[in-house]
Assembly symmetry: C2
Homo-oligomer: 324 residues x 2
């Protein structure tokens, strides 16, 4: 397909194949056929449904050119793992395409793949296939993840009902502050926030399908993502700003934390009778979880109220991945 | 994740969501959940194995900036369908990520998606999910296809044995000539070759798993891809240049046709006793198929011989997707 011939002699393998062999073949798991065939083959767990999600990341849009290479692939993998966690699905494997600018060195890719190898261990997931190509533009990565779930048990955005409580895992806003820290506009002496931006922690390992009525992961900002649940479920949602768990809950960063994105925490609607089960499940997994509000009457929109009960207004609700 | 805030008011949806809704939601099939959840859910056919493949295409590398938008998505989809066909697998669905430069208009994407919609009908496949993001570089598309196959029946590259015949479907070299036509260096008055470059015809719909001993699709040039079969199977392969089916079999284009890539025809190793079954299967599907050589003793490499039986040598074996 490409417009430039490879400089190799007949019988030898061109640069693409040695590059894949050097960096990606060690990541390939069962079913990947050593990345030598046209496709991977996997046997899905009998009687399970498959859950599939794809995300792309572009240098300068989703990560910074000087982010450590070992974190970049891991961030993309973790964002996709977070999508599986949001549906209550277990990971099986992933496929990765890499569109590579000329300037990235072999050492860069060695570190990139070492990061992926570490996360493959952590999350018990394997590389199944992919593609490597050239680009004259910025590095573009695209990852498709495949997982499995009990039939009919996947958590959806559309199941919230009036009266359900709204819960979130972990803390909200660390990733957004981490991006500001990386851009030099937020003080981050320990690097805590920068790491939260570069290495989100997907909430895998919880079994929430029978506890929550709706769920998603928070990637585009809490307020915007609450809007997704509200719209998909046909409910209103009211949260109290002061109940949203933040690492450093000062007023100055409230709006950024609630709208900034890059959290990869779970946002859950939970019938009040299931709150104890939620707490038990999360406690057993060592995952903090906090009730921040509730679902209200149909189609009432999303409102964030302050300590005095008055609605807060924000200049923006969240982040769009597309610049019009 | 992105570094630029979206300009929208709380409660409204940002540009990314209306873009997806306008162009991609009409393509979404069963299981895609209207592209509104974090992931798609599909029930795999009971007792079947899954086949997964991913390919990326970059503007200026895999397609030309002035290629018709309706053909660009279809070419990527068809390349992936060709990967499934090579494994004897049936398509289920696909996920697509689009990294979009600022210059591409809404009308461009309308045409792009209309092309995909047409091919979804032709090949009975549906969009399951994906992601849309911005880039300051060239357009990058990444597509993951998912299909299914009878357990253990997927065609591999590694099954060829000495004595097996080497067969190819269709004609070889039309895509390579089409690229030259698009670049203005090959005369193509009817546009036949340009269309073959822009819209390959994946050989779906054949059942070859019990007929062929090895198979792949020809994407990087016949000679290079013969090398993949030879290496994976541990055999040598000898083909006769004059038996390779070409649309216009003149000597001047022989090397380009045999090494140029972009064919998306099937390359098969077939035990001699199965040749009649192969011909019957292909004839029933209206697919031309031609024997061009045979597998020889172990590890003898790939040789292409001329009409006089003497080996031909080529300056290059095929195309690499990666420029070192």
């Amino acid at each position: 397909m490409p417009t430039t011939p490879s400089e190799h002699t007949p019988g030898s393998l061109p640069a693409e194949f040695s590059f894949i062999g050097r960096h990606f073949r060690p990541l390939a798991g069962v079913g990947a056929l050593d990345l030598q065939d046209d496709a991977a083959i996997i046997a899905p767990p009998p009687g399970r449904e498959l859950v599939l999600s794809a995300d792309a990341m572009v240098e300068g849009v989703h990560f910074l050119p000087d982010d450590p290479p070992a974190t970049i692939g891991r961030k993309l993998l973790r964002c996709n793992l977070s999508d599986l966690a949001a549906m209550d699905a277990r990971p099986l494997g992933y496929l990765l395409t890499v569109s590579r600018p000329p300037g990235l060195s072999d050492a860069w890719f060695a570190a990139f793949c070492a990061g992926l190898a570490e996360d493959q261990q952590t999350y018990a997931i394997r590389l199944l296939g992919g593609d490597t190509t050239s680009t004259r533009g910025p590095l573009v990565l695209s990852l498709t993840i495949i997982g499995h779930v009990a039939p009919g048990a996947a958590l959806r955005r559309s199941g919230a009902r009036p009266g359900d409580e709204i819960w979130v895992t972990g803390t909200i806003g660390d990733g957004a502050l981490g991006l500001q820290a990386r851009l030099g506009t937020y003080d981050d002496p320990t690097g805590f926030y920068a790491e939260r931006y570069q290495l989100p922690r997907p909430r895998t390992g919880l079994s929430l399908g029978s506890i929550a009525s709706a769920g998603m992961d928070i990637s585009d900002g809490l307020v915007q993502d609450l809007g997704h649940i509200a719209r998909a479920s046909g409910v209103g949602i009211e949260i109290e700003a002061s109940r949203v768990p933040r690492t450093d809950p000062v007023p100055e960063t409230l709006e950024l934390c609630l709208t900034g994105g890059d959290d990869y925490e779970l946002l859950l609607a939970v019938p009040p009778g299931n709150a104890a089960s939620l707490l038990a499940e999360c406690h057993a997994a060592g995952v903090p979880v906090t009730c921040i509000g509730c679902c209200t009457a149909a189609d009432a929109g999303v409102s964030v109220v302050g300590a005095d009960g008055a609605p807060l207004t924000f200049a923006r609700a969240g982040w769009s991945h597309l610049l019009d």
